[in-house]
Amino acid sequence: MARPLDRRTFLRVTTASLAFGALHRVGYALGATGPGGELSGQLAMKNGERIAPFSFVQLSDTHVGFQGPPNPTGGTRAFERAVEVVNALPQQPELVLFTGDLTHDTEEEGQRAARMKRFRDIASRLRVKEVHLIPGEHDAGFDGGAVFRDVFGETSYSFDHRGVHFVALDNVSRAKPEVGAERIAWLEKDLARFPATAPIVVFTHRPLFDLRPDWEWFTRDGDQVMRVLGRYENVTVLYGHIHREHVHEEPHSKHFAARSLMWAFPDPDSGAEKKPLPFDPANPFKNLGARVVDVGGRGSPGAAPLALHEVELTLREHSGTEGFQQILRPSSLQPDGRLT
């Protein structure tokens, strides 16, 4: 007889501090046997893989090639430091996601390609070999993403990893801050095979909601993307562009902005102008950082409560950093614990 579900499954959050900024961890507590195993098995039938513990890293806005007062450290120092810190993590992540503005813009195509190759050289120092990228407007705004595609490949794509579906969504290469009807149709088709409860991580560059349109912190057709994502209950959106942390909640999704690895922007609600925060020579990496998302492994196998309850992302303060928590929705399950 199956043990009763306690209807709580967790993405457990732990937060650690990096020498230079924030490190976030999110963990699923999913067991391999019992009701949790059954649930994983059902998801596996949908997306081809069981949910299993793993972690990944989000890095953003490295702006390779930028030189100027907001960051006189030599351009890539924070990026290179981030690579060292990630490489030093005791448990290596399985993926690294870069959420755009890998390079600073230049109108010279040759220089643009050179900056992307410089980015690739630094990123290749990561011990993690599965790296996924999307462009920002500084990478792809001038040429519709042509050089980016030559160097790195497609600007929108998806993949499954240990039962989680990842979607790279380009909202920059049309020059305007938009995804575009064709790409939204692609997204809809890509997600169609999944149940409403499938764990989905979308990584993109600009916020998909109207965070601050007057600072160009929005996506013109983000509401249409949200309508597509709104059919799914367990959606996490990771983005960059705003060079600061931010958390936003929609009815069916949570949105997290990452810090930059070049300079930070102020809080727009503070009344500040949109210009980089002043450089602090005593603390050159102030307000810069990375995010590690750690999916799993902390529940006791076989006994882990696996009834998925709700998606809830909350902030925690720890060592001056922030983390987030995600709990799956109760509507994910039928009374017998099966996925709807």
């Binding site: 001038f142 007057d214 600072w215 160009e216």
Partner: protein
């Protein structure tokens, strides 16, 4: 009808015809705006609430956007071209128009304010 009344009626009709007809609305005020990396000129435009104005935007150097969602402004202006939009704002306030077509490193701060008073 007295001769005096007929004379007055003709005078009123003639005045109306010379003015373009009593039913014809006044042409909107035209405000010329130039766009070049990474600024609009002028940087601020003042409009009276309920006033109809035409914003005529010319790009000097590259493709620029001219976007302000609540006021229904959404233009794309190619280099050397002029585009225009006519609006009658009904609500007072300060509205920031941004260039929403990526035009280079300073693009993120290219904006103009419309003050409706």
């Amino acid at each position: 009808m007295t001769p005096m009344f007929r004379w007055c009626a003709r005078a009123v009709l003639a005045t109306a015809l010379l003015a373009g007809g009593p039913a014809r609305a006044a042409a909107p005020r035209v405000i010329d705006i130039s766009a070049k990396r990474f600024e609009f000129n002028p940087k601020e435009v003042r409009i009276h609430k309920g006033e109809t104005v035409t914003l005529r935007v010319t790009s000097a150097d590259a493709t620029h956007g001219f976007f302000q969602k609540p006021l229904g402004i959404d233009l794309t202006i190619d280099k050397g071209k002029t585009e225009e939009v006519t609006l009658t704002p009904q609500q007072a306030g300060r509205y920031t128009v941004i260039c929403d077509h990526f035009c280079g490193a300073g693009h993120g701060n290219m904006h103009l304010d419309i003050v409706v008073e």
